[in-house]
Symmetry: C2
Subunit: 178 residues, 2 copies
DNA sequence: CCGTAATATGCAACTATTTGCATATCACAA
DNA sequence: TTGTGATATGCAAATAGTTGCATATTACGG
């Protein structure tokens, strides 16, 4: 299970509440790790029980109080241990491909329709990532250095989306010719 | 849940036992839908209870008997209905990227080591897919037509793996320069 | 004052997946 | 005859993830 470790990687850089983490997941890890707020809150509770993290209630002005979590020494140790283990290959479960596999059971217009919707979403994601990439390029040498690893994961997102869109082109041509 | 639908797409084309399906998953859907034998047997049981599929024990020569599942009319109906619904965007949970995101916590040699292992696996997968592609290209027009949809999913796998490897190159260069 | 949206946290029930165990048939080779 | 490997099916327990519900604070605009 790696939601736990994804949370620790985030908390290692900077302490934060469940809500903060939710936003970081959405903004920074969204294209390679997705987690709902329920999952995050549940996991934080479990991790606290396991002694991986600790927390403090923090009052805020103009906002509800929040529970700010920080890594414990034990948590740090466990994270580093996990980082040293080879991760299992990513599990892919893509239902659009299942659908396409059985595409002969469907009208091509229905498939094209769905394809367009997916294309739209992938283009949107790519646009956002390219904007982040441009911001990154304009940072100072020092800042770029600090963010080098997150930047590599962003590159994965960009390359992945471009590949997806190139493939979608092939599918579109096929469906239109058919 | 789409394991159910992946199974139905497979059974729609050809009846088969749990074990047959397991092999089809591994050989044909492996790069976009992964399922263990336990998952498949459990799901078949549930699907039978729901009336989506039916089965018959089939004795075999030189092999243990098997339960051959076929689609019911109801199953077909439900599958077609599912095919008409827009599928949710694929959920990605890639722990190697989590690790890379926190790469500053790790020695670059450890990361490079792991990268090489992943590269090896992705190259292997790509080689297999390219071989299947070549086989496909040599089929008759009629056969190619029958397999056009599975072929599109194969293309997704090929393009995806090529993109992954191109990205891995970037990561390698970065880690070696560092 | 009322509705809406962002911020903030959580429970309970259900569904899906993984892990570990368990068993049995048959072919083939040592 | 003993072990190995492919074929074939499954249960039970644990873990992980989803869905639906529930609540509260504060800002801001109408």
């Amino acid at each position: 299970m790696s939601l736990k470790h994804a949370i620790m990687v985030l908390l290692e850089t900077e302490a934060g509440s469940g809500y903060d983490l939710l936003k970081r997941f959405k903004q920074r890890l969204g294209f390679f790790w997705q987690a709902s707020h329920q999952q995050i809150y549940q996991q934080l509770k479990v991790m606290h029980k396991e002694g991986l993290i600790d927390y403090q209630w923090e009052p805020q002005l103009g906002k509800p109080d929040k529970k700010v979590y920080i890594m414990t020494a034990f948590g740090h140790e466990q994270l580093v241990e996990w980082l040293h283990q080879i991760s299992k290959p990513q599990k892919i479960n893509d239902s659009f491909l299942v659908k396409l596999y059985g595409g002969h059971l469907l009208d091509k217009v229905v498939l094209l329709d769905e394809l367009y919707q997916h294309v739209k979403q992938h283009k949107k994601a790519l646009t956002i990532m390219l904007a982040i990439e441009r911001e990154y390029q304009q940072l100072s040498q020092q800042e770029r250095n600090d963010l080098a690893f997150p930047f590599l994961t962003l590159r994965r997102g960009i390359i992945g989306e471009q590949a997806w869109l190139a493939w979608a082109q092939e599918v579109e041509v096929f469906l239109q010719e058919k």
